[in-house]
């Protein structure tokens, strides 16, 4: 027991002060893309060709980037000779609608809070069932990490629970493989209404690296009504936490 106490004193208190203090992210972290179409010469589409997922489109000389398809590999930024596209260290990326993830010069629609009734129901206590539907275990690992003492999800009243019967919503990772489609829909059906759906990670939003695989469904959007999209491959834990808190009107 004394050894445990000594170790506890040595290791100290490690829970982050988020959201009161901004998190410190690595210098090379790739977050929200910033676009300046003004720098693009006529007809240049260097960035578009290097994205195998079609996350970039040039529309009337303006670049638009779909953060739902983006893996944040930043190869498009590296390919741009004009500096029109850079990935900033801003980890705030979640949005309430699929269209809201489209970002251009004006930015994107950062997640807004639930309506008053839903906020009253879930704002102070949200229990989620997680379903991995073809997730590679990176999204799952960085969701799990939210429950560690660093992020301490419980202090916000959010918790991952074992049974869908105990849950207020479902957090889906993975592109929804053909073999997980039915278990996912069964889990959703077992959650009492009203219920939320959260798509976490590029796979759950648009299929991610496995987009257009014959054995996967390109995300959860075609199968269930999604209330929150959390982009990233995988999303940084702070991206997920920020999104969840915004959804609950806590930020």
């Amino acid at each position: 027991m004394l050894k445990i106490i000594r170790e506890r004193i040595h290791q100290g208190h490690r829970t982050s002060r988020f959201p009161k203090e901004e998190p410190i992210l690595p210098a090379r972290f790739r977050g929200r893309p910033e676009i300046e179409s003004g720098k693009c010469p006529q007809g240049c589409a260097e960035c578009v060709g290097c994205c195998p997922y079609g996350a970039l489109v040039v529309d009337e000389g303006k670049i638009r980037l779909d953060m739902g398809l983006c893996l944040f590999c930043a190869e498009c930024a590296a390919a741009c000779p004009h500096g029109a596209l850079v990935f900033t260290r801003d980890y705030r990326l979640a949005s309430r609608t699929r269209e809201g993830l489209m970002t251009d010069e004006e930015g994107f629609q950062l997640a807004t809070a639930l309506d008053a009734r839903m906020k009253k129901l879930f704002g102070r206590s949200l229990k989620l069932r997680q379903v991995s539907a073809g997730g590679c275990n990176a999204c799952e690992a960085d969701i799990n990490v939210l429950s560690t003492l660093v992020f301490d999800l419980g202090r916000f009243g959010i918790q991952f629970v074992a049974s869908p019967r105990h849950a207020d919503g479902i957090l889906v990772t993975g592109p929804v493989t053909e073999n997980m489609k039915s278990p996912l829909l069964d889990t959703y059906a077992a959650i009492p209404a009203p219920k939320l759906v959260i798509a976490s990670g590029a796979c759950a939003i648009g299929g991610g690296p496995f987009r257009s695989s014959p054995e996967a469904n390109d995300g959860v959007g075609d199968l269930l009504p999604v209330d929150l999209y959390i982009p990233g491959c995988p999303p940084h834990p702070y991206t997920a936490l920020d999104g969840l808190l915004r959804l609950l009107g806590r930020l």
């Binding site: 790739r30 893996l71 003492l149 493989t177 053909e178 014959p214």
Partner: protein
Amino acid sequence: MNRQVSAVTLVNGGAIPLADLPVLDFEVFAEELVGEVAREGRVAAFFVTPAGGGGLDLFAIVAHDWRGNLALMRTRVNESFPSLTPRCPQLHLFEREIAEQYGIIPEGHPWFKPVRFHGSWQRGRDAWGRDPGGHPVPGDMTFYRVEGEEVHEVAVGPVHAGVIEPGHFRFQCHGEKVMHLEISLGYQHRALERQLPGGPHPNTRYRMETAAGDTSIGHMTAHCQLLEALAGVPPSPRGESLRLIALELERLANHVGDIGALAGDVGFLPTASFCGRLRGDYLNMTAELCGSRFGRGLVRPGGVAFDLDPALAAELSGRLEMAARDTRGAVNLFFDTPSVLARMEGIGRVGTDTAEELGLVGIAARACGLVRDVRLHHPVGAWREAFDSVIIEEAGDVFARANVRRREIEASIEVLRRGLKHLPEGAMQEPSGKMHPESLAVSLVEGWRGEIVHVAITDAQGKFARYKIVDPSFHNWSGLAMALRGEQISDFPLCNKSFNLSYCGFDL
């Protein structure tokens, strides 16, 4: 009669023209394969690919750890072939996989069931006679069943209680005691291998990084080594050293996280809490290197995409020392607590013979006394100098698997200390070359779970004709099933954590 010289040898990261690999008669192939395994070999890969004319080429790759090389064999098969599983049990899943992918039948297979529940790649040829137009239902197979009074069956999954990938487990129990566990996976199947012919495609590298997302560095290194072997262009020494650093950070993050998870399962919360945080510290060090906690975007053909300048190397060294001290403190608490040890010792035991017959690899094998580590036996590049002792335990129980991790954590920290101090000068990445046509290459990497095998065969244009991935989990799930025999069902979570296998790495 003179023995036909038929097995061709290759070293890790090597390539040969396909024409140099003779097509043996099946009987000769079978004898060679069983003989190679008997001569201290183990099956690293076993797969088929269409050979033209309706036939299929069957390849076997047997790793000879003490000779540091790989024996390659091939034969030709049609609709069926005699199953070799009765003579070589470690082939059992490989043969089922071949049947599922190409609709051909290993006659006399003792446990003949689907693996991942997808339709055959050869239209209209289903090994189980299922509807060729429909999609198989996952888990739809005859499970092994024990009948009798007081015998009951427990079925779990695919969706489990925690934040974890899906799989289905069936326990045949007598009271609390498990007589048999059958594991049915395939829920995460994303058709990774099936879509590789004709590649590498623009999306291939991202798929390799997510073959098993907690092993991004391991799988991507195996993939890049394969591309480099096929092009005959070695990666830059600096790039290889940076890959080594990233691989050991990946091992540290996962081993530390696993000890935390084991602590959580036995209800020892100090270590569970500390290790949960420390795992993040190692992931964050990887993120300092390349911006991603899982090492996405770091390993690239020819080397790596991010360099480590002296200032960052010094900072990482400092962070490593702090994390190392805290890790030691957290882990020692765990191993110094008698009630914790009592929960792990003698639980979930796998015998050395069983481990050998099933062809276990990685932590699971080393915990059963098997000396198997690609870093020692099949080293490439920076590994040749960096690693000289394999850590083994004899008991094959949960404690042994935990203790292998504990000791590997120490070893990895040492390797990292040296690696961060002595980075070779030069470019971080060499330009990649064009892949040789009609060749075969093999690449092995000791990922944190165990041996990762990537094999590719190129076509006349130098594109992939076949790409085979063997995640360590492919061998080791059977080990978990054996570990449960005679155990209490309540010990399943603990046994499962001690293996911590990948679902999507298996399902692919």
